[in-house]
Symmetry: C2
Subunit: 209 residues, 2 copies
DNA sequence: AAATGATGTGAGTAAAAGCTCATGTTCACA
DNA sequence: TGTGAACATGAGCTTTTACTCACATCATTT
């Protein structure tokens, strides 16, 4: 593997056909990640699948890393939108503590059910992209902040617990269990069951004895 | 990256100095994984760090994959020993339901505190080793079976729950949270706190309302 | 229509990394 | 002390892959 770059911005597409090119490249990268995994996702293969020349790819992405980072950001932003919709829905229809938890967990499970293969590959491999504080990291920080903020308002329903610690424990375990949807799992572990179990996990953890 | 092999067994070391060589190679691979990660762990670097020639490495490991699989197996076996010690300790000193949970969780947290960097790299990357049903997979199956078996004996203390599903949820979330020890985390999340929180998580999940 | 810039091409370069093999060295044992 | 087996060496082969560049084509402006 030769050196990889990371730096130096590249052209932004200005014409319509250039936008199509960029999109074809991102679609192709996503497809290869899903179907053949991270290691198979090399720039030549992406260009070929996208039906463009390797040169075109490097017109818009300065490096392989930048391409994958862009894809990860796109994916993360879609995820954030799903979450934000869940937040506004929750604020418009006030519910009980328990129902609110279920509501958010349902959103998380749904989030990981969209393109789960890609989700898995990205969450496995994105950490090693040395692209500084990127959108992905920002989104997960925001999610954590969201959880923490909500916990703060619900202190009355909670056992005595350090909110930072609780946020970490919750975010981590919910994420890990929701990601299970991609792997081999007991057949009975449907999406609905997953929502039930994660709710039980979270509520049991937060509830005073 | 050229073709990788996977197949064809290689010599077993018979003399003492050959055992030293093999060990040096494994130590070197572990060190590089810890300090520079999976991608930096190439066979040439391993051989160099081990102070042996690349040829020697290939005398004992038919491929890079075989080397890393061997390392993973070694690590997994150490882990299994820790767990088995916890099991026998628990059977020798009968405890309450809650204390038993804490006891196992303490063992899990301790397990992940031993060489946590290596632990993290291996659990991130081992899934993609196409080495069939290997020791690693066997160990995690065994652990799950252990948990499931124990849950079965404790039905009386449990809410009504599908044991397969519960096992999955517990194993996954405990593993994920225990792995947090390696990443950036709130400073207050010490090992002791981790044991407390994971116990709360597990007990809250299993306890009838 | 000429000029200018945006977009597209793909053969080719260079470096990294897995792995081989011809050859040399050490050890066990007669 | 000689002989064969085990062990060790490292230059170099080969494939893979990130990336460049000289050039061609398309779009827009004047």
């Amino acid at each position: 593997m030769p050196r990889t770059r990371v730096d130096s911005p590249r052209k932004k597409p200005k014409q319509e056909r250039a936008k199509d090119t960029v999109d074809a490249i991102l679609r192709a990268a996503a497809h290869i990640l899903r179907s053949h995994g991270w290691d198979a996702c090399n720039t030549n293969a992406v260009a070929k699948r996208a039906g463009v020349s390797i040169g075109s790819l490097y017109q818009y992405f300065p490096s392989k890393e930048a391409l994958l980072a862009a894809l990860a950001e796109e994916h993360a932003e879609k995820g954030q939108q799903v979450l934000m919709r869940a937040v506004t829905a929750a604020s418009e229809h006030p519910m009980s503590f328990d129902d609110t938890v279920r509501h958010y967990i349902r959103a998380m499970v749904a989030l990981h059910a969209v393109d789960p293969k890609l989700q898995r590959v990205l969450s496995d491999q994105v950490p090693k992209l040395r692209t500084g504080l990127n959108v992905v990291r920002r989104v997960s920080k925001q999610s954590a902040a969201l959880v923490r903020g909500w916990l703060e308002t619900q202190r009355a329903h909670l056992r005595d617990v350090d909110l930072d610690v609780a946020t970490y424990v919750l975010v981590t375990s919910v994420e890990a269990v929701a990601l299970l949807q991609v792997l081999e799992r007991p057949t009975r572990l449907t999406q609905e069951v997953l929502v039930d179990e994660l709710s039980a996990l979270v509520l049991g953890y937060l509830r005073p004895r």
